[in-house]
């Protein structure tokens, strides 16, 4: 049995009340949406907040709206609801597929899109019971002063392991944040920072409220996920690629993201000069090799990093080939 630490549970119905609770309890409070990431982490004593502010009853965080070329998704929409929503499937099916590949059915019934965007980083040395972590003298991310993954050990490199952010980045989505002081929007592309201890720009007192995804009919997107089992497991690698196709079928712009590496998803660079209108096999191979050269999976997951390194160009190549046959709404396949 893994017991939860003691806390007081708040379940406000209005966003303003939730924000007020965060202000009142400061560092003692944590926001919980589906709880599928936070609750297990609390059982491992990675977080011991005195107050949990639940978002499950806040109406303002619900709903999926299709509004003049923009999909507007409430942060507390579950991954299951997202993956089944007809508008999402029609306009951003790669996002629906990424959501459908998270964990297992029971998790998707509770886990939310906002929670997935805010998912804590993961590491072999971190996602363990307190007993296990004690034995190793803890780690830099929690309670210790050394990272066991890298040789130097002065920087936390726990892995960004969420499925939906790479797709959201390729689709140029943005998140809306609210605090008692006001609201702001941040592109998902700029949301993550290279610090495994706290890898997002979420600030104290803020709640992620909505995710807005602009939909361009010329854009195709595809998504792939590498994992050991085809269910429940977190990704060992996640790849999202997107491209804009002209009416004659030629590619005008291409972009890609790989995650499951370090603390933030990697935006692939150096692709522009390789694409000249087509995505034939030679171009795909060149793009995949260039992606492989800039992604270095670390020993922050239980599997052999050499294998994950070798799989980067393989998965990027597969994602790109899927893109060729994908409809305007995108597609995905799993390894």
């Amino acid at each position: 049995m893994l017991r939860l630490p003691r806390y007081e549970y708040h379940r406000p119905r209005r966003l303003d009340d939730a924000l007020q609770l965060l202000d009142r309890h400061g560092d003692e409070a944590r926001v919980v949406a589906g709880g599928t990431d936070l609750i297990p982490n609390m059982k491992h004593r990675l977080f011991e907040p005195g107050h949990l502010v639940a978002l499950s009853a806040v109406e303002e965080l619900q709903g999926i709206r299709w509004d003049d070329g923009v999909l507007d998704v409430g942060a507390a929409v579950t991954l299951d609801a997202l993956s089944r929503n007809p508008e999402v499937r029609r306009h951003a099916s790669a996002l629906a597929d990424a959501a459908r590949h998270v964990a297992g059915p029971q998790i998707r019934n509770r886990a939310t899109l906002g929670g997935n965007v805010c998912l804590d980083t993961r590491c072999t040395y971190y996602n363990q019971t307190e007993f296990w972590r004690t034995a190793l003298g803890f780690c830099l991310k929690k309670d210790g002063d050394t990272c066991h993954v890298t040789r130097v050990g002065r920087k936390c490199v726990a892995a960004h392991s969420a499925d939906t952010p790479p797709v959201l980045m390729v689709l140029d989505a943005e998140v809306e944040l609210r605090s008692s002081k006001g609201s702001r929007a941040v592109p998902v592309r700029e949301w993550f920072v290279a610090d495994g201890i706290h890898n997002t720009r979420l600030e104290a007192g803020e709640i992620l409220t909505r995710i807005r995804i602009p939909i361009h009919p010329a854009t195709r997107c595809s998504y792939r996920k590498l994992r050991q089992r085809q269910a429940v497991d977190f990704p060992l690698l996640t790849v999202a690629v997107g491209a804009d196709f002209a009416s004659d079928g030629r590619v005008s712009e291409i972009r890609g993201v790989v995650t499951g590496l370090g603390s933030r998803p990697r935006w692939l660079t150096g692709w522009d000069d390789l694409v000249d209108g087509s995505l034939d096999d030679d171009v795909v191979d060149a793009l995949a090799q260039r992606a492989g050269a800039q992604c270095r999976p670390l020993e922050n997951m239980i599997v052999d990093p050499e294998w994950r390194r070798a799989m980067v160009p393989v998965e990027v190549g597969r994602a790109l080939r899927t893109l060729r046959s994908a409809g305007p709404a995108g597609a995905s396949l799993e390894a």
Binding site: L4, A54, G104, P105, I107, R110, A231
Partner: protein, 161 residues
């Protein structure tokens, strides 16, 4: 009521319940320790294995990572609530006939996931069954007998709902 405790009201297997539980308990702790419903199993206790699966408003839910407050005013169905009176649910009967349970620890969770599937989809394909049960681990039998039992239960429910 001791400090740090709270009264939570919900329905379990159709009956309204009112339980006094420690504030930081999960639904599976309330079911097993406050209500004595030990059919729901506490396995990994961190959302990996699916043994604690119950239905919350009809959806398969991991009761080990659900703060008990989230069950407030909801309909919870556990494995004890699947039978219809003295008659076992067709799933339970077919699991028995096909030897789809060995040690039985995963069975209550699998029955709940399967019951939700059959409510939604009376004639699921093998692939849909695999998908619906993909969050439930079984370490004894392998899954083939389980899939066959779900198919047999689905066929029975279609012929005599």
């Amino acid at each position: 009521m001791s400090p740090g405790s709270r009264i939570v009201r919900f329905r379990v297997n159709g009956d309204p319940v009112e339980v006094g539980v420690p504030e930081h308990h999960t639904l599976v702790e309330a079911l097993r320790y406050a209500l004595g419903l030990t059919g729901t199993k506490q396995g990994c206790d961190k959302g990996d294995c699916g043994a604690c699966t119950v239905l919350v408003d009809g959806r398969p839910t991991l009761s080990c990572i659900l703060p008990v407050h989230e069950a407030e005013d909801r309909d919870v169905i556990t494995v004890e609530g699947l039978a219809r009176g003295v008659e076992p649910h067709p799933l339970q009967d077919e699991f028995d006939r096909h030897g789809a349970a060995q040690c039985g620890f995963c069975t209550p969770g699998i029955l709940c996931s399967a019951a939700a599937l059959l409510d939604e989809s009376p004639a699921p394909t093998r692939e849909e069954i695999r998908e619906a049960l993909s969050g439930n681990l079984c370490r004894c039998t392998g899954y083939t007998k389980i899939f066959v039992a779900v198919e047999a239960a689905a066929a029975r429910l279609r012929s005599a709902p």
